[in-house]
Amino acid sequence: MSPYLLAVFLAAVSGLPGLFLRRRGGAVAAGLLGLAAVLGIGAAVRVLAGGGSGQARLPAAPLGTAGLLVLDPVAAWFLLPVLLVSACGALYGLGTWEEGRPGARFLRLAYGGLTAALALLVAAAHPLVFLLGWEGMAIAAFALVMMEDRHPETRRAGWIYLVCTHTGTLCLFAAFALLPAGAGPFAAFPAGFAASGRGTALFLLCLLAFGAKAGVMPLHLWLPPAHAAAPSHVSALMSGVLIKMGILGLVRLLSWVPDPPVWWGGVLMGLGVLSGVLGVAFALGQHDLKRLLAYHSIENIGIILMGLGLGSLGRSLGHPVVAALAFGGALLHVLNHGLFKALLFLAAGSAVHAAGTRDLDRLGGLGRRMPWTSAAFLVGAWAICGLPPLNGFVSEWLIYLGAFRAMAVSRWAWSAGLLAALALIGALALACFAKAFGAVFLGAPRTPAAEGVHEAPRGMLVPMGVLALACGAIGLAPALLVPALDRGVAALMPGPARPSLGGLASLPLLTGLALVLLGVALAFAVWLRPRRRTGDLPTWDCGYGRPTPRMQYTASSFADGPVSGLRWALLPRIHDARPGGLFPSPARYESHVPDPVLDRVADPALRRSARGLALLRVAQGGQLPVYLLYVLLTLLALLVWMVV
């Protein structure tokens, strides 16, 4: 346990030395976070290998001293991506937020704080500690999103995030007040509690709080703007790890319930399908590289929720095999998504950093000048599409197996629907990343800025390499993770009868198959390699005089097929001024896919209510004594209320 506490401490103070150093503060911070990662991951691996869970004592008399932090297998599992992604991001950040750039010191301070809060949160075993980590995470992340607050859209993203996270925390306060254990440490619920009215309220409040943090579809409104506005390594940490804390909350909730009602699983699965399909559909419509990745986070959260929902249903209906496969897939996808999404954000960040724009239609041809970055992006894209032999395939494979098993054991029609949704998500994700990779890294540069890019420095490539290797390792040898995964699943399925994933999923066979596929692909690559040197010639221009690089397929035209097919769901706004007549005037075409919740519901509704709320301005006179009078009156009212 003490290595874990030391890791939290090191992460928390990692930004402090930089405040006093004139140079190399970033390197010190990255070094401390790296040390924290080594210590913390070591502790987590020990727990996951069966070393027993550790408890930490904290010197806080009013709460009692024991059992505030427990590093159990679930905590250890979530700790792995937290520390790995954070250390990689800190190293990467040295390249983009170099010394002397305004805000670099504050960025490191908040980044270390966020890492420490996340690491504390995963092991919290008491409502107060959980809330402490939760709020620390929210505030540090707000500070990080607002790093470039000279842009108005960044400020808007920051405020939207702050409002959403505080609303979620409010729900969380209410939910914790409803826990059957009261204000004591977290404990398993008594049988029958989950089906009671109080249990229902608890579940719904948790769903609101954790769903908003995770970015589940109707509650995801903060996610795309915040991920687009934050510095890239912060987006990597937020998308890879921070939103998983919502999943952690749901996992904890499910692990306390001995008898989850059937509808809990159904609701989770329904929300998962909704976020998964709509998330990837909206990703297809984006022009902004980082917003596109943010919508993919919503999609992947959807896949994780499908796994959790299916597992919960399997438990309620008495099919432990289904439950074990689905929970295993969901947990593995948490780790996998943390790795490949962080990889994608880092690679996208270095492309954006080099070219100075996030607009897909102003990039292009970066692969020739940034071979390593484009290789890293390709690995991430490969993994997120769930293609073998990388890690995304393994976790989706487990969820597929769970759904097939569910269909086999009980002929549930909806599991066919689940399978169809998973397959649809996979196909659309493939289309979306074909678009993103093609538009950014292939073809010819569309602007002079995209033409003048240089490969990222080694300090930025190494973290991407580490993450890509981790993706490959999990994809090629998933069997190594089975014991750890089994321990994680055990927390979600209290009870004696528990099948092991090793026996259910035949993962070594998968490894063999993956190796064979890899060999075949390599052989093809060698066989297809051009024998002669090819010249560098322009594309045939059909006789047209002067083709420019802007005449390539754009990202929007590439994605037009699926986007038009999904027009009923995406509702794109299109401004189309076609050329006409004998002497055509200049023509324009713009398309834009607004967010369904933020731009279509929340924004108009809030604008309207702001007018009514202006009346409350009277209470805010700006006079300090008046504010103090409010405090005094509240205090008096509370005292009188206590006495009477």
């Binding site: 006179g621 700006g622 103090l628």
Partner: protein, 211 residues
């Protein structure tokens, strides 16, 4: 020295504070109140705990020397000596203070507190000091007097914390140290910022900061 005597002195200082218009005198009285409160743990017979003694010594040092030192320096800088034209006049303040003291006696009598060997007037005096501090904060215009009000409020909280000092010493001590820190901090910020930004220490100018 009995605790009741000290408590009576604290109540007296409360009334003096709301009735005075000279800032220098207000500072003197607040300092006296701080020192009296610093002596309270000794009078309550808590002198056998070394850490409580150390805490009391720290409180006396800060409230009796450090804060008045800063306040007098600020006073010399801003060259203001009287609180003219407060939001609530001196007679009205005195009446309100009396009403607050009466109310705190009633409240303290009915509050569900742990019965124990604490002096009978400790809780009412704490509440009365708290109200006095609030009254000063709410009714005065000058930043310096408001800081004095903050100190008095602080003293009330300190007095209340003495109830708990034997049960949870660490919590109380950290609370007190934190309060002292915040007090000095707030004072520095309030006084210096108002002065540099508006060239005066009238807190009414802060209203221009509202959105």
């Amino acid at each position: 020295m009995s605790p009741d005597l000290l408590i009576a002195l604290v109540m007296l200082t409360n009334f003096t504070l709301v009735a005075t218009s000279r800032i220098n005198k207000a500072i003197q009285v607040a300092v006296a109140q701080g020192v009296i409160l610093g002596l309270m743990p000794l009078a309550m017979g808590l002198g056998r705990h070394v850490h409580i003694l150390a805490m009391a010594a720290a409180a006396i040092a800060v409230k009796g020397w450090f804060i008045p030192f800063l306040l007098r320096r600020a006073l010399r800088h801003v060259k203001i000596h009287r609180e003219v034209d407060p939001f609530i006049g001196y007679t009205a303040s005195l009446l309100l203070c009396a009403a607050g003291t009466g109310l705190s006696l009633v409240l303290a009598h009915n509050l569900p507190l742990k019965p124990g060997a604490t002096p009978a007037f400790l809780v009412p005096a704490a509440l009365a000091t708290l109200f006095t501090g609030f009254l000063l904060l709410v009714s005065r215009r000058k930043a310096l007097t408001q800081v004095v009000g903050y100190l008095v409020l602080e003293n009330g909280i300190y007095l209340f914390a003495l109830l708990l000092v034997e049960d949870m010493p660490v919590l109380v001590e950290t609370g007190i140290l934190l309060d002292l820190f915040v007090g000095v901090f707030v004072m520095g910020i309030v006084i210096n910022h108002i002065r540099t930004a508006f060239d005066s220490t009238d807190t009414r100018h802060l209203a221009e900061l509202k959105d």
